[in-house]
């Protein structure tokens, strides 16, 4: 079996002491920022991105991946115990999880969330291992026109599935594409939008932009709001194990959540948040205990928590196999690859099998670690919730500053990040989602390159995108999505999906 050979190779990489430590560090940091409201995985990964420059690429990726799925575990803790989402992907977990906690079943809710996440993590690791290789083979047959169309589809889908105004989200993509153009034009050697600043001729680093928009922008946004009070329902968790009845009801919900999350994670724009919202809605609609939802239904914890972990992990599939990021975290992962001079795309699997399979195997190991970190050690994380934000943000501020300075060892990068920080705050105030901007920023140079190549193949005839069947199919898909989202019926459904109270 090739799958097992590959996984064996992966395990041999992931089980080296250094990589085990980085998986653990990633899982710990992920849990930490998952538990703490006010800092999310995007900002954290952005801050730590420059550090991965000093690590082996495989170790760096293993750590960053651990932060992402670790945050899904940690987010549920805060949702259940404090009724605040530690992450956006655990917003719906608050609803029933916190009710369970108030009924004295906090331990059961935490255990169901962690075990559901673990199950979903195992399944989606296997899914990645099974489906990534064939997809990479498909990707290798793509030419420039196909790639360009695929990126168009990816960007459009990312917008359609994200919440908020579609128009604004598309504008944010374009804004990201424009920021991505700053620097030297690879084809002509001319500089664009550099304002005569020499440091800008190399372009803006993805870490600088992401640290500014997400890290610093979030600090300013959080500080401009009054600090929320965190009332812990139970600082001592007595009974951790769910009852037999809980198990009986949670299992099918975990299965459904895992299935839904795995599918939604692969889609561009999908990932953890969308998966958890959709899974909760599905449970509520299909459950025989519908009346219990909102009053501590165990399915309402099991389904979204499995779904967000599944979605977080399967969103690696398009990134690893096609080099196309489906969400902002994946865009940063691509940034981490490019820091090491690794061209993201289908060739990674064949050129660097150790890294590819090592990362996949590390996900499973990371999930094992996370169950241990999150269940027996839950008391420690609960204590951390008592740290007020006014201390937390000083640490975030420092890590942002040092992180961005080490990107290029230049003061200019720090000033630039400060500028993007204010921009990130303005975007948040104006309800413009910044995630599509990062996607546009990362895909921008790739799109321009493929557009130019396609045009050279066709001698300047734009019909090349329509004459090639795969490219045509992808563009039709993109157009269909645009039409769909404009239909009033879909539009109201889409808004409904993100408003679950």
């Amino acid at each position: 079996m090739e799958l097992f050979n590959n996984l064996a190779l992966g395990l041999s990489v992931a089980l080296t002491p250094a990589n085990l430590i980085f998986a653990l560090v990633g899982a710990l940091i992920g849990t930490l920022i998952g538990v703490l409201p006010g800092i999310g995985p995007i900002a954290t990964i952005a801050m730590l991105l420059p550090l991965t420059f000093h690590l082996e690429p495989t170790s760096g990726l293993i750590m960053l991946a651990g932060i992402f799925y670790g945050a899904q575990y940690g987010g549920s803790t805060t949702a259940i115990l404090v009724n605040l989402p530690g992450e956006t992907s655990s917003v719906v977990t608050c609803i029933d999880g916190h009710q369970m906690a108030r009924q004295g079943r906090a331990g059961a809710a935490l255990a169901v969330a962690a075990l559901g996440s673990f199950f979903a993590g195992c399944v989606s690791t296997l899914l990645i291992a099974t489906f990534a290789p064939p997809l990479a083979v498909v990707g290798q047959s793509f030419g420039a026109p196909e790639y360009f169309s695929l990126m168009v589809l990816g960007l459009i889908a990312a917008v359609v599935l994200a919440h908020g105004s579609v128009l604004k989200a598309v504008a944010m993509i374009i804004l990201g594409l424009l920021v991505g153009l700053v620097g030297t034009d690879g084809n002509t050697g001319a500089t664009r939008f550099t304002f005569g600043i020499t440091e800008l001729t190399d372009g803006i680093d993805v870490a600088t932009l992401a640290i500014g928009i997400f890290g610093l922008g979030e600090i300013i946004t959080n500080l401009s709001q009054p600090e929320e009070t965190r009332a812990l329902v139970a600082s001592k968790i007595t009974r951790l194990w769910p009852t037999r009845e809980d198990f009986r009801r949670a299992w099918p919900a975990v299965l459904r959540g895992t299935a839904l999350g795995s599918i939604l994670g692969v889609l561009p724009g999908g990932g953890a948040t969308l998966s958890s919202f959709a899974a909760y809605a599905l449970e509520k609609k299909s459950s025989a205990h519908a009346a219990q939802f909102g009053h501590g239904a165990v399915e309402g914890v099991a389904a979204p928590e499995s779904a967000n972990n599944a979605g977080a992990q399967t969103s690696f599939i398009p990134m690893l196999t096609l080099g196309i990021p489906g969400n902002a975290v994946m865009a940063l992962m691509i940034g981490a690859l490019t820091i090491h001079g690794i061209q993201p795309g289908p060739q990674i699997m064949t050129e660097r099998p150790g890294m590819f399979w090592g990362m996949i195997a590390s996900m499973w190991i990371g999930n094992v670690m996370l169950v241990i970190i999150n269940l027996p050690l839950i008391g420690i994380w609960v204590q951390l919730l008592k740290v007020p934000y006014r201390f937390l943000y000083l640490a975030i501020l420092l890590f942002c500053a040092i992180g961005v300075y080490t990107v290029s060892n230049s003061a200019t990068a720090v000033l630039l990040a400060a500028f993007f920080g204010v921009a990130g705050f303005v975007f948040a105030r104006l309800e413009c989602e910044p995630a599509p901007m990062i996607l546009g920023f990362v895909l921008g140079p790739l799109m321009e390159e493929n557009l130019r190549r396609a045009m050279r193949i066709s001698s300047g005839d734009p019909m090349i995108f329509l004459n090639r069947p795969i490219s045509l199919g992808l563009l039709i898909g993109a157009l269909a999505l645009c039409v769909l989202v404009a239909l009033p019926a879909i539009r109201s459904k889409r808004e409904e999906a993100f408003q679950e109270n």
Partner: protein, 167 residues
């Protein structure tokens, strides 16, 4: 807002309009697009076959403008429909100014003053951004963070950042 009393009706109406998120967002997109078009006015455009430096930037700016206008119009329609403006958000000047200032100071001093002093400045200025941080708390936090940063970045990762001022 203090100056609203003597500003008269037109200015109040203007402020009402600008308070709409979509109006501001639309304006933002349009301004960026127009600025981009202005900046790229001298970039050679070339042809679709041989795209010049300015081809893609100008294309994107036009698309951004085309998106910004409807967002702006959407916002203006909301104003026209007389829907009540969103509740004014809490003032954010304090975090905006002090978070930005702390970073600018950090960026300008790290090479000359070294890690320890520039972190002190970063935390000192940054702490003003939040309400309710006592001086002693700030000092303790700074000491802890300096130790942490030194441990991770200098000791652990071996970064070549000066720790103390170079004389």
């Amino acid at each position: 807002m203090a100056f609203s009393r003597n500003s008269g009706a037109p200015r109040a109406a203007l402020r009402q309009m600008v308070a709409r998120k979509n109006v501001l967002a639309g304006l933002l997109f349009c301004v960026v697009a127009l600025a981009g078009l202005f900046l790229s006015r001298d970039y050679p455009i070339g042809t679709a076959l041989r795209m010049g430096t300015g081809y893609v930037p100008r294309l994107l700016c036009w698309v951004l403008l085309a998106l910004g206008v409807p967002v702006l119009v959407q916002g203006l329609i909301e104003v026209d429909a007389g829907r009540p403006p969103p509740a004014p958000g809490t003032s954010a000047w304090r975090p905006v100014i002090f978070v930005t200032a702390s970073l600018v100071i950090f960026g300008l001093t790290i090479e000359r003053l070294g890690l320890v002093l520039s972190i002190l400045l970063l935390i000192g200025v940054g702490a003003v951004a939040a309400r309710g941080l006592r001086p002693l708390e700030t000092l303790a936090a700074a000491a802890l963070l300096i130790a942490l940063a030194w441990g991770i970045f200098i000791l652990g990762l071996g970064l070549t950042i000066p720790v103390w001022p170079g004389w």
